[in-house]
């Protein structure tokens, strides 16, 4: 029997090793990137300096090119724990705004993606006419499209969550459509024949065979989609001129050279994205466990 724990046995040490390595590289990089400015300053003041002095100063520099991990941690502490959640300086507040448009966009995108897939699988004309457009839609860079959508909706007096959610939807319906089409077509021909011998209707075949067979494919797509949805939400927050959301915080961080803020926002976005994907992974595990009749299935990310 395979183990029921979520992580693989003995995965703690490798994960910690990788994190430790990243932190070490990060600190080394901070010295490398920040030291030219520090050395400049030393030379202007004409002071003697040692390497340890240089390292300490690089790691604690204000407006560093690359802030060191503990500076980012401090920024995270002040913007998450110390600030009131309703404050405009609280990353929790901005993360909440991004999360809500991510989730709305994800739901819209998943709904659109599933509907398109059902249409493509069941209507032959749609199969031929729709798929090229679905693929073409994804060749337009979202960075070019997002400002236009925001501006157009803004001109119509619609701002806030909806335009952002639409951009997320635009990004995340695609993997859902592709995965779902594949999933709906995945049942063995023999099972389709079996239901044909019962003269089952199209919808009976859909509910009793195609949909359950598509679920594992659907979850794989949904995990890709929710991560894309977050990217969409952040991109959509950039052209609003830094009003609210993690994207806005990234933008204002780069306007004012607050690199700590940029990194803190990035980390919050990454943690949020990883958590969303893991939550879907847990649901996937439970659903697929049921669909396989209680047989252990391995579903790695």
């Amino acid at each position: 029997m395979t183990t029921k724990t979520l992580g693989k046995p003995g995965s703690t040490i490798p994960v910690l090793t990788v994190i430790l390595a990243i932190i070490l590289i990060w600190y080394a990089g901070a010295i490398n990137l920040n030291s030219p400015q520090i050395i400049d300053r030393y030379e202007k003041k004409g002071v003697d300096w040692s390497f340890s002095q240089l390292a300490t100063d690089s790691w604690n520099m204000k407006r560093a090119v690359l802030p060191s991990p503990h500076q980012v941690l401090m920024e995270l502490k002040t913007t998450i724990i110390d600030k009131n959640v309703t404050s405009k300086r609280s990353l929790v507040y901005h993360a909440g705004i991004t999360l809500s448009s991510t989730l709305v966009g994800f739901l819209l995108g998943a709904g659109l993606g599933i509907s398109l897939a059902v249409g493509i699988v069941y209507v032959e004309t749609l199969d031929k006419s729709l798929m090229p457009w679905v693929i073409t839609s994804q060749t337009i860079p979202i960075l070019a499209l997002a400002p236009m959508v925001i501006v157009v909706f803004g001109a119509m007096g619609i701002s806030g969550l909806l335009p952002k959610a639409l951009i997320s939807m635009y990004l995340c319906f695609f993997p859902v459509t592709v995965g779902m089409v594949k999933g709906l077509r995945s049942p063995q021909p023999m099972l389709v024949d079996l239901l044909n011998t019962y003269s089952a209707s199209k919808w009976q075949v859909f509910w009793r065979l195609r949909l359950p067979s598509a679920v594992p494919f659907l979850f794989t797509s949904l995990k890709v989609a929710i991560a894309l949805s977050l990217v969409g939400a952040i991109v959509a927050e950039l052209p609003t001129g830094g009003q609210a959301g993690l994207g806005a915080r990234l933008l204002s961080g780069s306007y004012y050279g607050q690199t700590n803020l940029i990194w803190a926002s990035l980390i919050v976005a990454a943690v949020m994205s990883a958590s969303l994907v893991s939550i879907l992974g847990i649901i996937e595990r439970k659903v697929c466990y049921r669909l396989s009749g209680g047989q252990e299935v391995s579903n790695e990310l």
Binding site: L191, T197, S199, P212, L291
Partner: protein
């Protein structure tokens, strides 16, 4: 055409006349069936036997309306296969159990009953009855993966029987099983056929299986798929697996083997 009335008078469940079926492939046209004539009466157990590619499965799929013939006429219960399928006139057992992994044994047997709109109580009762018939009472709540291959195939037989069709198509149902399980299921299937008086059409490539089970054996040959011999095979109804050692059994088996050899060209 007034074939419908004549078929009921003479009790013909299946009438096949001059059926041909060509597949278009990249290398040209492949003739899966050519000029097939066959009549099957109610209560018969008819086996199609032949090497791979002789069209035995294709012929059965034509009868079940899963494949369309390119020529000839087919009547099942006096109507077209499509009508027979829409009236749910037959049960079909596939080469593999074809069970839905997310349904329990009971729910798998319920599947056709649900689709055909049987009432809830009747569904439960029929599922119970036919699971008992294939000796699977007590396994209702198990999932397919928890059962052996032979048990899974018995579930699929119970599923085909649960809607009580008078006609049963079985496409190499025991082909994937080990010989001991296969012998056991052959024995069970023979009893089942004798009890229920159904018409069974059975595809196999095992001579022993065909002779043991059948009342008639249709010997087929490939390229093009055609019938080369039809052998009557009326062994005593109370036969057991031991009959396979008897001289009358071996005589029939010998004739089947000779037919297969005659129709099989090893030079191509």
């Amino acid at each position: 055409m007034n074939l419908a009335s004549t078929s009921t008078e003479t009790n013909h469940v299946v009438q096949v006349k001059g059926v041909g079926l060509d597949f278009q492939t990249k290398d040209g046209i492949v003739s899966a069936l050519s000029n097939v004539d066959l009549t099957i009466s109610a209560g018969e157990f008819v086996s199609f036997i032949g090497p791979s590619g002789c069209g035995k499965t294709t012929l059965m799929r034509v009868l079940a309306d899963l494949e369309q013939p390119t020529s000839g006429s087919v009547l099942v219960n006096g109507m077209s296969p499509a009508q027979a399928r829409q009236q749910r006139a037959y049960g079909y057992v596939f080469q593999t159990p074809a069970l839905l992994p997310w349904r329990t044994v009971q729910d798998n047997v319920l599947l056709p009953l649900e689709i055909m709109g049987y009432g809830k109580d009747q569904r439960q009762q029929l599922a119970q009855e036919y699971l008992q018939l294939v000796n699977l009472a007590g396994f209702e709540a198990k999932y397919p993966w928890q059962l052996s291959g032979g048990m899974q195939q018995r579930v699929s037989i119970a599923r085909a029987l649960s809607v009580e069709p008078q006609l049963l198509f079985m496409d190499e149902p025991f082909g994937a099983l080990d010989e001991i399980t296969r012998d056991h299921l052959n024995d069970q299937l023979l009893r089942l056929w004798q009890q229920t008086q159904k018409t069974v059409v059975f595809v196999t490539h095992s001579i022993l299986e065909a002779v043991f089970l059948s009342s008639r054996i249709v010997v087929m040959s490939p390229r093009p798929g055609r019938i080369i011999d039809i052998i009557d095979c009326n062994l005593p109804t109370d036969r057991t697996l031991d009959i396979r050692e008897s001289s009358e059994f071996l005589a029939i088996a010998q004739r089947v083997r000779a037919g297969l050899a005659a129709g099989h060209h090893y030079d191509d």
